[in-house]
Amino acid sequence: MTSGNTVSAKIFRYDPAADKAPRYETLEVPLEKEMRVLDVLDYAVENAGVAVGYRWFCGVKRCGMCGVSVNGKPVLACWEKATPSMVIDPLPNMPVVRDLVVDRSALEQATLEMEPCLKRKEPYESFPEPLTHRDFEDAYRLMTCIECYVCTAACPVLSDANHREFAGPASLVQLAKVALHPKDAGERVAAALKGDIYACISCYECSNVCPVGINVLEDAIEKLKRRCAAQSESNPGAKHARIFTDLIRKFGRIHPPTLMRQSKGLMQSVSKMSMALAMYRKGKVQVRPQTVQGIEEVRKLFKAVEKDQ
């Protein structure tokens, strides 16, 4: 019944205090020009007598309160165009309060624990502070974040693996926003590692959904990881990045058995022996590292880069 003139909306309904299990309520809504998901929800309550619970405040992509999931993609209800056929769910990765209203408090707590406020090296002098656009560029890019947690809702480390040690992308954006500020002197590497930043699998789901267009992985998480790699001696993720880089310096390309032995340690690598053997039989393991032709050139480039650093 998706004639193009109507929206068929299948809406998640659940009141944990009263209902045994969640259900869906489907309704037909006349499709208006420029209609948003939020308008569909408004129509449900005001015109269709469907008392669905949802949250919103500004209606213009400012307050970050109206996140929902539409056909499996986390979006802002006030900024997403309504389409003829929609399944509207609460944002994943957070408990449901009622219907489309979720409880973000655990995630907000993770943000708070990162202490995302500027900790100055030297006291604030006076206004205006002598800062160039260039100095400020990286932090500025993250200042448009409206803390909607839509990115965190999209993160598979939380949804698919339920890896709750991970703070999630929205909290890491808040951390990066202060960490990248030129006047900041806080202990940001420790906070990033406490939020288990190396659980991030670099999938760009967060960047893909951010309603204000922040490339969350590259502009926040990756920049924090670079600091961790430079400053953390012992974190396995940071160590792995250094071991990987050293292998490229030596051979120009990766030698998986060496990478595994150095990164996982001998004991853990031994536990992979049966798999390694099976791979060896299939011709998937080269016992000795191969060096790319012209490795001298590669080493010269490493030197040229390191001279600058």
Binding site: A199, I201, E222, M275, V298, K300
Partner: protein, 293 residues
């Protein structure tokens, strides 16, 4: 059609079947590939996560080598595709950064000029050769074969950098499967992550992620899964036995590289495509096609 062929580390180490099948298929398709033998690793996520200037410099060198050959770069690895595409775009746009990186390249007598593009074999098949022309070359339609497409993150996202397909509802690999005469399996996991980039450091986490994808494809009664990236392939194929232990469930799903699947459709023999080199036995696929291994 001429390309500078960038196989990436995996095709040269853990996935020799990818390199071999790519070369066999290139011959069949009259793709003239000049392999960039002296190119380095693009750094996976690790070099870009730790040293930006090194990341830019190493990849600028690879791009400059292709420029010298006056060829666009074609790769068979999604992560390498994204790395090379991003470095190419960044250095084309940012003159100051380009000068800095070129000062490094001067040490080896190279210069990045920004005259070439980067592409993936999947894109070459659909954009350069085209579905219609390719369909004409299909000598052995893969009728009745249910193939689960596995796109891979770094061929889809970020969209504004890659731009070929829609990350929310990708179609390219599905189209290709149809062109080869097979049926694409619909499942949400096709556009999701394989977990590879934490496989060495947080294996449990990686296996949970790849396990989700494999069990979904299994549930949809796929005969095999096709990957565009050897890193996805590693998570899903050689690590499949480890995934099975985590899930407590037998999966046994053959995982085939894109050129291997294309090669089957073009009528190449399984041996030419090194289908015996995949970790999970590909025999069920060959049986379904009534082919001898």
């Amino acid at each position: 059609m001429k390309f500078a062929y960038y196989p990436g580390c995996s095709a040269k180490t853990t996935c020799p079947e990818l390199d071999q099948s790519m070369k066999a298929v290139a011959k069949k398709l009259d793709l003239d590939l000049a392999e960039l033998e002296v190119a380095t690793c693009t750094g996976s996520r690790q070099i870009r996560d730790s040293n930006e200037e090194l990341f830019l410099t190493l990849n600028a060198r690879t791009l400059a080598l292709a420029e010298r050959l006056e060829r666009d770069v074609m790769t068979v690895c999604a992560t390498c595709l994204l790395n090379l595409t991003e470095v190419n775009a960044t250095l084309k746009q940012n003159a100051e950064l380009r000068r800095k990186i070129n000062a490094n390249l001067a040490a080896v007598g190279l210069e990045f000029r920004g005259t070439r593009e980067v592409t993936h074999f999947l894109w070459v098949l659909l954009r350069d050769i085209g579905a219609e022309a390719l369909a004409k070359k299909v000598a052995r339609p893969l009728r009745g074969l249910r193939v689960a497409p596995f796109y891979g993150c770094h061929i889809l996202r970020p969209k504004d950098v890659l731009g070929f397909d829609d990350p929310d509802s990708p179609t390219s690999l599905d189209t290709l499967i149809r062109v080869l005469g097979a049926d694409p399996v619909a499942y949400d996991g096709k556009k999701r992550c394989c977990g590879f980039h934490v496989l060495m450091t947080k294996e449990d986490l990686a296996l949970k992620i790849s396990g989700r994808r494999l069990s979904q494809a299994r549930d949809e009664a796929a005969d095999c899964l096709v990957t565009t990236c050897p890193l996805c392939h590693s998570s899903l194929d050689p690590y499949q036995s480890a995934v099975e232990k985590t899930l407590g469930r037998k999966i046994r799903l053959p995982v085939i590289h894109l050129p291997q699947l294309v090669g089957l459709g073009l009528g190449l023999a399984p041996r030419e495509l090194k289908l015996e080199g995949n970790a999970v036995s590909t025999a069920p696929v060959l049986e379904k096609m009534a082919l001898q291994a």
